[in-house]
């Protein structure tokens, strides 16, 4: 019997219209856990580097993390893994809600999609019955609207639906996949659209078995109250009405300037009143006591769910007030547009217009108000109309397609991908490494375990460290010595980057939400899940024999395998640099040293390629063999570093 997982994947070929239920290898669970880990292995095996993202041979993989549908609170994340046309690299996103657990109860850990449907279709998975159905009548429909229509036509109110909006259908690069109160971004919706797949509906009524039921129950049951009471986890910022931190620290417009002094008590009162007025309720994801999502009903708009920092991204990019943000989200959520990258693309277009690079000929009838301009541009973008066709490819590609100096306005992308609109003063060593070397394209998917700032008061610091259950010992020592406004050493920076990213690789394999774990150590240092208690949850659910060292090793293995996917597609050291103006004060010499030290620590070559020794030590011999065959690594050891 398989525990925690179903042991089966669903293989769909949309070109041929074929559907297969395929048993997975239990040894893979031992090696990669599940979720992103096993999805990465499938991408490695089946999508060679010469496969273009828009090729029918590219795969789009939905994976329910290993612990989904077990009683572990907050394990509800589905990962979506593929290759992105924007970066031509590995593309990865996650969404919460209810889809993944339902998929497992239907009897599948993954849906692996290849090929392209000749006409728009949707997938209906009801336990053993799986159908590819016509979605012609859903073309152009909003993402959540599509979910509601599908549930109605199937007479399946309990089905869970993940769908794309018009943005995905028209292969807009910042298209999302929307499901209930959650969405997957970062370049996965565009592939779903490219495959002609409008939606996936799933309903499952099968059991998920638990290996050590009583033991798992005993550690899970207290977590509900603990997570509920823990003020440092969940979406801490979204629950606050004081937006000072975001509006002061993040850059407005096309990631241009910080707007210090904008925030005041009067504005806070006005924004709070508005939020209270348009919010229907706070909602949560499956089996999690945190309520990180606002159900919003804005006048004239369909109900939608707002999460995370998207509460402010549009209004800050457009220099507008909060009501504008709630209003436009009602449109962009239904189109299925990423709330992080889209506002930057729109603000970028406005800058080009103001610089005379885009003209009235490109933007006929372009309004004068920045808010109206955003609505205008969104419409062009999702339909790929006129200049919207270039903008739909993201800032990097749009700049090159538009030309005439537009490239100079692309200042906030990295590896061709829009980054958070952060413009800071002094280079931050660990952050330099996280930005430069992460495969997950955005800092929020890499940072999170080590505190962002030092604690000034020594007594407070000692107190913090004393209760810091989540941290490996070395970090306790370093944090104790860390004075405000000083840099961690190179060695410390390397380890901080390593710990932060490893925790994300663990979460993304088992499906625990980063808001309860890998992202939530950086303020307060009390994530409910961490390296030292996760092995218990995983072991009792699955029956695997796991301790922190073994779990860490799996995290490292997955990190190196995902790295290898990008290396095989051409990623090298030359690509590993943050946006040029991310920090005003840079230190090229130190940055070189940092990168050298990080690569060395990771067991990678000077060019950022995992060495044979590193790969073989993690049981990734098939990667090192492939690298040698392709000439990525030299045939014989020692490797070049």
């Amino acid at each position: 019997m398989r525990y925690a997982e179903t042991g089966f994947n669903l293989e769909i070929d949309l070109s041929r219209g074929s559907i297969e239920r395929v048993e997975s290898d239990p040894a893979w669970t031992e090696r990669y856990l599940g979720g992103q880990g096993t999805a990465g292995k499938i991408l490695w095996d089946r999508v060679p580097p010469d496969v273009e993202p828009f090729s029918p041979d590219n795969l789009l993989i939905f994976s329910a993390g290993l612990l989904l549908a077990t009683p572990v609170p907050g394990a509800n994340r589905t990962t979506v893994d593929t290759f992105s046309p924007q970066t031509n690299l590995y593309s990865h996103s996650l969404f919460g809600g209810f889809f993944g657990p339902e998929l497992k109860h239907a009897g599948y850990d993954k849906i692996i999609i290849r090929g392209k449907a000749p006409d728009l279709v949707y997938l209906w998975i009801h336990n053993d019955k799986v159908e590819i159905r016509d979605a012609g009548h859903l073309q152009g429909k909003g993402a959540l609207e599509t979910g509601a229509l599908i549930k109605e036509e199937l007479n399946a109110p309990e089905a869970q639906v993940a769908a794309i909006g018009m943005a995905g259908e028209n292969r807009v690069y910042m298209a999302t996949i929307e499901h209930a109160n959650s969405s997957a971004s970062r370049g996965v919706g565009v592939i779903m659209g490219d495959k002609g797949l409008k939606a996936i509906a799933v309903r499952g009524t099968k059991d998920i078995n638990i290996a050590q039921p009583q033991e798992l129950f005993e550690i899970c049951n207290p977590m509900y109250q603990e997570i509920y009471d823990n003020p440092y986890c969940g979406d801490v910022f979204l629950h606050e009405d004081d937006e000072g931190w975001h509006v002061d620290n993040f850059a407005w417009g096309n990631a241009r300037e910080r707007n210090k002094g904008y925030w005041n008590k009067e504005r806070e009162a006005r924004w709070k009143a508005l939020s209270d007025d348009v919010r229907l309720r706070w909602t949560g994801c499956y089996n999690c006591p945190k309520d990180c999502h606002q159900a919003i009903k804005y006048p004239g708009r369909q109900t939608y769910f707002q999460k995370c920092y998207s509460k402010l991204t549009y209004c800050m990019a457009a220099y507008k007030e909060l009501d504008f943000n709630y209003d436009i989200l009602g449109v962009t959520q239904e189109h299925g547009l990423d709330g992080y990258s889209t506002p930057q693309v729109l603000a970028f277009a406005i800058e080009l217009y103001e610089a005379g690079i885009l003209t009235d000929e490109d933007l006929p009838g372009f309004p004068s108000d920045s808010g109206e301009r955003f609505f205008y541009l969104v419409d062009k973008l999702v339909r790929r109309e006129g200049v919207g066709d270039a903008l739909a490819n993201g800032v990097y590609w749009a700049a090159r397609e538009i030309g005439k100096g537009a490239e100079d306005f692309d200042h906030n992308s990295m590896k061709k991908f829009e980054q958070l609109p952060l413009k800071l003063k002094m280079i931050n060593y660990p952050y330099f490494l996280m930005y430069a070397t992460g495969e997950k394209m955005t800092i929020t998917q890499i940072e999170g375990s080590y505190p962002q700032a030092a604690i000034a008061d020594r007594k407070e610091r000692e107190e913090f460290v004393k209760n810091w259950d989540a941290a490996p010992e070395r970090f306790k020592k370093w944090f104790l010595e860390w004075e405000p406004r000083t840099h961690p050493s190179i060695e410390e920076s390397v380890h901080i980057c390593d710990w932060n990213e490893t925790m994300h690789y663990i979460d993304d394999a088992i499906g625990t939400c980063a808001f309860l774990s890998s992202f939530r150590g950086q303020f307060g240092g009390r994530p409910p899940y961490h390296l030292y208690n996760l092995p218990g949850f995983i072991s009792h659910a699955t029956g695997m024999d796991l301790d922190p060292d073994r779990l860490w090793e799996i995290g490292r293995r997955n990190r190196n395998m995902i790295r290898a996917l990008n290396i095989r597609r051409g990623l090298r050291r030359k690509d590993e640099k943050p946006p040029e103006d991310h920090w005003k004060i840079r230190d090229p010499e130190m940055e070189t040293e940092l990168l050298d030290a990080y690569y060395e620590f990771k067991g990678w070559t000077h060019d950022g390629i995992p060495t044979k020794e590193t790969l073989d030590g993690l049981g990734l011999e098939y990667v090192s063999e492939d690298f040698m065959k392709r000439g990525i690594l030299p045939e014989s050891e020692p490797s070049e570093d």
Binding site: A148, A180, P289
Partner: protein, 183 residues
């Protein structure tokens, strides 16, 4: 024992719709508690509590499995409460032929909430334990009057027959059967 000395414990789960965040932990915990062996599997489709969700209309209603009925009811009312429309079914815990709710997915047999009866008793039913938002709260109260002596099955059956055919007819039939048995 006199009636006055008798008291019964009434167990209630109070539902506050405004506090529900729609996480469905109650469903998971219920299915896990009732799994055999206990906690050995999860499956919300087996849960005796379900959150009826219509998220675009902000409807989140946890309902508990009640009695089984072999027939669909005629009630197709909708209720508007605070501007939101609820179907009558949204509040109904009956296991009925009109819907899949509260039936074992394999056998189709009806499910019924038992308030997690256990020995020793749980402090609160599982669904309440996993709801820190207090959308579900548990109350026990004593009620005067006590419980009636449980009637025998035979008596219940005979009572139904006399209601339908009259006491005389039932007695005559029993007498005739007794005579024919003797022969």
């Amino acid at each position: 024992m006199t009636d006055a000395a008798k008291k019964k414990i009434v167990k209630e789960i109070h539902v506050d719709l405004d506090k529900c965040i729609g996480c469905r932990a109650c469903e998971l915990a219920c299915s896990s508690f009732h799994a055999k062996p206990r906690y050995s599997s999860t499956n919300p489709a087996r849960a005796r509590i379900r959150v009826v969700v219509d998220d675009l209309n902000d409807v989140y209603v946890p309902i508990r499995a009640g009695d089984y009925t072999p027939a669909e009811c005629t009630g197709r009312h909708t209720h508007t409460i605070n501007g939101k429309e609820y179907r009558e079914c949204s509040f109904c815990g009956v296991s009925c032929p009109a819907r899949d709710l509260f039936k074992e997915p394999d056998s189709g047999l009806p499910l019924k909430c038992d308030m997690c009866e256990d020995d020793p008793p749980l402090a609160e039913p599982m669904c309440v334990q996993v709801c820190p938002h207090d959308a579900l709260t548990y109350e026990e109260r004593e009620e005067e009057g006590g419980e009636e002596e449980p009637r025998e099955e035979l008596e219940i059956g005979l009572d139904a027959l006399t209601k339908k055919y009259g006491m005389k007819k039932v007695m005559d039939t029993v007498a005739r059967m007794a005579v024919s048995k003797k022969q």
